[in-house]
């Protein structure tokens, strides 16, 4: 899974090129508190250690909405605002693509339990928070952004598919788009069927052109080719984290950003497909 190499792949030639620039990154995971503090942990194997998440209060939301916001909303807002701050971008002017393999998983359990009781009921807040695009809705309220926002799901490939759709939107509509990926664990009994090992969220601020704030250029190709590239030396604990949480499949890409050297990230997409992402530091 963590296939990172420096080869420029011959089979990329002749394919339609999808190029976007990364201007800002947000990151919130176990032992990963923000992008800047996490860079050294990503690039130095052995430094990262599993630790509880410290998700900040979503102070950008009005008090009523803040009380209603669940963990998926808090995570999404934290990484989304961090990526915009790092990019010096106004969040009210960027479009968003949210992607999650499940959404607010603990809430699904609570709602189904409440509906299975002899006196079924559901509160208005629990209902509207249960939609897959709830973080997108709260994001709009917090940022006052009227730009388009799309919420996606592709099971284990949710990050890769989200990245592809966000990058295509940037390239075709020629506008900045923030990709916000998040996942949280289920409660029992669904956790037995769908184990997600930790909460995790990351955001990438993607832009169509190189600017003073560009950190990296990404050339993305979707391929069914079986060519493989050389393996990386990411921390084994982080490799495990990236296998245990669909949104954390972003970690090899974040590792490449932190290293700030030209390399190719090979990311599994849907079965039989992968994204080959050439990363060039700016």
């Amino acid at each position: 899974m963590v296939s990172v190499g420096v080869t420029v792949l011959w089979f990329l030639e002749g394919r339609p090129e999808l190029r976007v620039y990364v201007e800002g990154i947000g990151l919130m995971g176990p032992g990963l508190n923000g992008w800047k503090d996490s860079m050294a942990l990503l690039t130095h194997p052995g430094r990262w250690a599993m630790a509880p998440l410290c998700v900040p209060d979503p102070i950008q939301l009005p008090a009523v909405e803040r009380r209603r916001a669940g963990q998926t909303v808090r995570l999404s807002l934290a990484v989304g605002f961090e990526a915009h701050a790092n990019a010096h971008r106004d969040p009210s002017r960027t479009g968003t693509v949210f992607t999650s393999s499940g959404g607010d998983n603990p809430l699904l359990h609570m709602n189904c339990e409440a509906l299975a009781s002899p006196t079924p009921e559901l509160s208005p807040t629990r209902f509207h928070n249960s939609v897959h695009n709830a973080p997108a809705g709260y994001w709009g309220i917090a940022t006052q952004s009227h730009e388009s926002s799309t919420s996606l799901c592709a099971f284990d490939a949710s990050f890769a598919v989200g990245l592809l759709h966000a990058a295509v939107q940037v390239a075709i509509d020629r506008k900045a788009v923030a990709l916000i990926a998040y996942d949280v664990p289920y409660l029992a009994p669904i956790s037995q069927l769908r184990p997600i090992t930790s909460a995790f969220a990351t955001a990438l601020l993607l832009a169509p052109d190189k600017t003073a704030n560009s950190m990296a250029c990404l050339d993305i190709v979707r391929t069914d080719s079986r060519e493989s590239v050389s393996l990386s030396s990411m921390d084994p604990g982080l490799v495990e984290l990236s296998r245990g949480v669909p949104a954390a499949r972003a970690l090899p890409l974040l590792f490449a950003f932190a290293l700030a050297t030209a390399m190719t990230v090979d990311m599994e997409e849907l079965p039989g497909h992968r994204l080959l992402i050439q990363v060039f530091p700016c």
Partner: protein
């Protein structure tokens, strides 16, 4: 945007199976709404439930995917020769050059709700027959349809509440423009479940009678369900005089509230304005507006303000939710296909159950059906989280 041709569509909802069932019911002004008896619910409301879902023959090799939502999807694929149309498209483009972008808000939630009623009393475990991945997970719909249609292009599920199956047209348009696929199957399915019935009830948004869009006495929505699909292709040599194209898409966010639309219709206005810009057309080019028109007090008022601000009071418009109910995640593709029918059949649907239009609403709302030359239609879909999407369809030739 580069216009895309709708080479084939299919539809299933409470009006019946196939596009013609919907067209006939629209013309005959026959509603698909009935008093709710779904899962023995005692909810005092009316629903647009699809009959015969239980008797759909589900492919044995895909049995793990068996849930109400995927049954509706299968029923949709089986209508209107859609399966064969996709097979022909595969022959033209190749299975890995056809994208699959589907929308749903419920996914197989009904299966999870049923499983929670049958947990092991000791361990709390869910029944062994329950497959989380293939029913509940939001991607289940696309994973299932991908198998049924044998497609292998870029695939995603959009779950942006009631705008989901409108926004899939935007995703498909961009993916085709970027060269990631040459054609796309778009649409999706949404299914009745306890969560939406009890959820909308708790919000005070369920009507106790068949919903009455834009009526002065409207008191809420009727929930519907169904499936719909469209095959989108770049402009080919197709010379069917009835062919309809997607000319524009517009997306926006309300940035106002999770479950209440912007009171001035700001997000709706932006979505419609952007759809016109994307199509390179003017407001005066639209012959009919197929409204979201859920029959909730706030939604209709908000949409009316947006429509009036952009189109004035003369452009004919209406909501067909009185026929189908509000199909939630499937309302985008349902509205889109009805928009296509309006163009093909010079038909303007009115509004069912609407006795007199709310005098506070100023748009050119139709109650009675009509006929007119319809070249361009705008189709609206707005959802929770302030997610809005408007589509512009028009005559291809």
């Amino acid at each position: 945007m580069q216009p895309l041709i709708l080479t084939h569509v299919s539809l299933v909802n409470s009006l019946g199976e196939g596009v013609d069932a919907t067209l006939t019911a629209l013309r005959e002004r026959r509603s698909g709404l009935l008093p709710c008896s779904f899962r023995l619910s005692e909810m005092e409301t009316w629903v647009g439930q699809v009959s015969g879902v239980e008797s759909v023959r589900f492919p044995p090799n895909l049995a793990d995917y068996d849930c109400r939502n995927n049954r509706l999807a299968l029923l949709g694929i089986e209508q209107d020769g859609f399966f064969s149309a996709v097979k022909s498209a595969i022959a033209r483009h190749g299975r890995n050059r056809i994208g699959l972008f589907l929308g749903t808000s419920t996914s197989g939630l009904d299966a999870t709700e049923l499983a929670y009623r049958h947990r092991d009393p000791e361990s709390g475990a869910l029944p062994l027959s329950y497959s989380y991945r293939k029913t509940q997970n939001t991607f289940s719909l696309a994973a299932f349809v991908k198998e049924v249609l044998d497609l292998d292009g870029p695939t995603a599920v959009v779950s942006s509440a009631c705008a989901s199956t409108a926004k899939v047209f935007a995703e498909a348009s961009r993916m085709i423009s970027a060269g990631l696929c040459d054609a796309a199957v778009v649409g999706g399915a949404d299914s009745l479940c306890m969560t939406t019935l009890y959820g909308f009830n708790s919000l005070g948004l369920l009507s106790r009678e068949p919903c009455r869009p834009f009526d002065a006495e409207r008191d809420g929505i009727s929930i519907g369900e169904g499936a719909g699909f469209a095959l989108l292709e770049k402009d080919t040599s197709i010379s069917d005089p009835k062919a309809v194209k997607l000319f524009g898409v517009g997306e926006s966010s309300d940035a106002y509230h999770m479950s209440t639309p912007h009171p001035e219709g700001m997000g709706a206005y932006l979505a419609m304005q952007r759809a016109l810009e994307s199509a390179g057309l003017k407001a005066s080019d639209m012959d009919y507006l197929h409204l979201h028109g859920t029959a909730s007090k706030a939604n209709d008022a908000s949409e009316d303000k947006a429509v009036t601000a952009l189109f004035g009071s003369k452009t004919p418009c209406s909501s067909t939710k009185g026929w189908t109910g509000h199909g939630l995640g499937v309302s985008g593709i349902t509205n889109a296909i009805v928009a296509m029918l309006c163009i093909q059949h010079h038909f303007l649907p009115g509004s069912l159950q609407t006795r007199s239009v709310d005098p506070l609403l100023k748009s050119g709302y139709l109650i009675e059906n009509g006929t007119a030359c319809v070249d361009y239609v705008m189709s609206n879909s707005f959802g929770f989280g302030g997610s809005n999407c408007s589509l512009v369809f028009g005559r291809a030739t």
